[in-house]
């Protein structure tokens, strides 16, 4: 009698049980244990009759309902984006007018190069990013409210079944939702996942969750190319991000990260009314990062883009003959199959690696206009159609996360190889997705 024989007997027993129960023995044994416990508790535990359904339980009957759960989740997310858009529009107009006035004032300054640096570079570039303060802060308010009231834990619970199908569990969904704010806390939240392969998978798909920094790209392009319903288009970006994340999780779990997934009991905290100060603190924690980025990385890049657009001296500002035009022209053919093979797009995507808001900031500097008319400038000068704009948005959604996120992936996985892998594979996925959208879309739209 040796171990081989025992293991063979095991296989036989398992397939026998599977044929009877249609379920893994593990599920049946767990049920038996809980059955024992609930029998035991009938004798041991007396609960007061009124307590049976707390208000939280009653709300949960609807929120985490088997059929209603996921539609409700989507409806809530859609509501969030409509809220963000409708409410932020007037504020964005004010900021736009302010920068328009400031730009007009700056262009009167002498010498000419300083006027160009301030008006075209700093105000055009930084202005086109800062205008997104209202939607970004409103999005962070909405996320904070959903978190503080206890809904986020429910969203994870609702998605648990979906996540199980892709070989992860609901726990992985919390980092994904956090990724909507910013991928960096999302990636760091993966620490709570015990199973190393679950954890690595969740880290690697987190960049597909559309962070707040990508919002400016969508708002700019959706507003210019889909004026009828920009909210819906932006909402679709978030959904595409989730779908791609789920697909890639499955691909990773079935290829390089094969193995069983961990089990976890999910705790659902009771619903609470969020406090105003709590929501504002959370909003500020995340929103201030955006302002800091605007003051440092984005400002630096904007000046760099202006410089490269003006060099060599004497060249027409931001023309194809400028340094930036030559860099862009060199890279641009890669993006031609996806529809946006113009050097301006290529350049903004390259600089977008530093921070995704920079995609818009770079465009603002190149076209030397601020946000209000930047969309129109892109449509007119690059000859983009709504289809190309959509493909470009999808590319921005999926391609390499910002350099800070890659740094955090390196820190959390303790491996440059995984960080490099994350940068590379997301870009490949982005290129494929954008190309498919443009090529197939062209067949129908022409």
């Amino acid at each position: 009698m040796d171990s081989e024989e025992i293991l063979k007997a095991r296989e036989e027993s398992i397939s026998h049980l599977k044929s009877i129960y249609g379920d893994d023995a593990e599920t049946v044994t767990a049920d038996a244990r809980y059955g024992f416990i609930s029998g035991l508790l009938k004798d041991v535990l007396k609960k007061p009759p009124v307590e049976r359904l707390t208000l939280s339980d009653r709300i949960d009957k609807v929120i985490v309902n088997r059929w209603l759960g996921i539609p409700l989740f989507l409806a809530i997310m859609y509501g969030v984006f409509q809220f963000v858009f409708t409410l932020s529009a007037p504020f964005m107009d004010w900021i736009d007018q302010f920068f328009g006035w400031l730009g007009g004032y700056a262009s009167g300054i002498s010498p000419d190069w300083l006027a160009s640096l301030l008006a075209d570079g700093v105000i055009g570039g930084l202005g086109s990013v800062l205008i997104f303060i209202p939607p970004i802060f409103l999005l962070f308010i909405a996320i904070a409210v959903l978190e503080d009231c206890g809904y986020m834990a429910r969203a994870a619970f609702v998605m648990d079944r979906v996540m199980h199908k892709i070989g992860l569990h609901g726990r992985s969904f919390i980092p994904m939702i956090l990724g909507f704010g910013c991928n960096i806390p999302g990636i760091m939240a993966c620490r709570t996942i015990e199973n190393p392969k679950d954890r690595l998978t969740t880290i690697l798909i987190n960049p597909f969750m559309s962070c707040g920094a990508r919002l400016p790209v969508y708002v700019l392009l959706a507003g210019a190319f889909f004026p009828a319903n920009p909210g819906l288009v932006v909402f679709s970006m978030y959904i595409i991000g989730i779908i791609v994340a789920i697909i890639m999780a499955q691909v990773l779990r079935k290829s390089i990260l094969k193995g069983p997934s961990g089990h976890f009991v999910m705790e659902l905290p009771p619903y609470r009314l969020p406090t105003i100060s709590g929501v504002l603190i959370h909003m500020w924690e995340r929103g201030s990062l955006f302002l800091k980025k605007a003051g440092t990385i984005i400002f630096g890049v904007v000046v760099l883009v202006w410089l490269l657009s003006s060099l060599p001296w004497g060249v027409e500002y931001a023309s194809a003959q400028s340094v930036i035009g030559r860099i862009g022209s060199f890279v641009a053919p890669i993006f031609a199959p996806a529809g946006f093979g113009q050097w301006q797009a290529a350049v903004s995507l390259i600089f977008g690696f530093l921070a995704k808001e920079v995609v818009v900031g770079t465009m603002g500097t190149i076209f030397a206009v601020e946000e209000g008319i930047l969309g129109d400038a892109i449509a007119a000068q690059l000859g983009w159609t709504p289809l190309i704009a959509f493909a470009f948005m999808v590319f921005c959604l999926l391609y390499v996360p910002c350099v800070a996120a890659i740094g955090v992936i390196r820190g959390e996985t303790n491996s440059w190889r995984w960080a490099g892998f994350a940068a590379l594979y997301t870009t490949v996925v982005a290129w494929i997705a954008a190309t498919i959208i443009f090529q197939i879309g062209s067949l129908f739209i022409g």
């Binding site: 009698m1 026998h16 044994t29 244990r33 609930s38 535990l45 609960k47 015990e194």
Partner: protein, 259 residues
């Protein structure tokens, strides 16, 4: 201790106190005279396990790592009525499967170190979920004591728990506690000493898994006991784990030598 006193500050304070407590020689002496007992603390996360651990060991704590993994291992000493009780804090887990390093550490310790008692800290206000771990500890044949913690919360929810009935039906001592207010620590220590002194094996605890599964368990159990494989674990428990597809146990069986 004030409520606002953060836990890790408290730990630092305790460790500082411990550093100038009794000289090493004196400690060794008392160890020689006292009877040694080893106990393990198990429990779900948020069941108040750390509080119970602090109540038991006070200043005499040592923090290290479990071998081979970066999971924190806390050990402490508690001297009680001439007994020298070594307290091992197991990682907080909901279950004893092989899905996380924490769970494997917990169950391996229970089987390999054979502590004189496994104290499972159970949240009385959340009995159903917490007892799942207790049931699995019993299934491993370990000497279990249930520390029924957070009795105050259960009371505020107006739960009525029949402690004696619970102890009787599950076949293990049950000690009601409010660890936050250091209530029940003495009773728990009494039960620990009693269980360690008794040296009696617990009445074999069994979950009835239903006819079909029981048949397969019996088959595997027989093969395991006849095999002459040297395995620390109780055969019935191994059989259940094999059926559950527990990777760690399957690998153990694959690698173990006859003898």
């Amino acid at each position: 201790m004030a409520d606002w006193w953060p836990e890790d500050l408290e730990m630092m304070r305790l460790r500082l106190l411990a550093s100038y407590e009794r000289p090493e020689s004196e400690r060794r002496e008392s160890k020689k005279m006292a009877k040694e007992i080893t106990i393990a603390l198990a429990g779900n996360p948020n069941s108040g396990k750390t509080t119970v651990f602090n109540n038991l060991t006070g200043a005499r704590q040592h923090v290290g790592n479990w071998p081979g993994v970066t999971v924190e291992k806390k050990e402490g000493i508690c001297n009680y009525q001439g007994y020298h009780i070594k307290v091992i804090d197991l990682p907080g887990v909901y279950s004893l499967t092989a899905y996380s390093p924490d769970e494997v550490i917990a169950r391996n310790f229970i089987v390999e170190a054979k502590p004189d008692a496994v104290v499972d800290i159970v949240d009385a206000s959340n009995l159903e979920r917490n007892l799942y771990l207790a049931v699995q500890i019993l299934e491993m044949g370990a000497p279990l004591i249930i520390a029924l913690n957070m009795m105050d919360e259960a009371e505020s929810k107006r739960y009525r728990i029949d402690v004696n009935a619970l102890a009787e039906e599950i076949g293990a001592p049950v000690v009601p506690m409010v660890a936050n207010r250091n209530q029940g620590t003495d009773e728990l220590l009494k039960e620990i000493v009693k269980l360690a002194e008794e040296e009696t094996t617990l009445p074999g605890f069994k979950i009835n898994y239903g006819q079909e599964i029981e048949n397969e368990i019996a088959k595997l159990e027989r093969l395991l006991s006849q095999s002459g494989l040297s395995l620390d674990y109780p055969p019935r428990w191994l059989a259940v784990k094999l059926l559950e597809g527990d990777e760690e146990i399957i690998n153990k069986i694959r690698e173990v030598k006859v003898g």
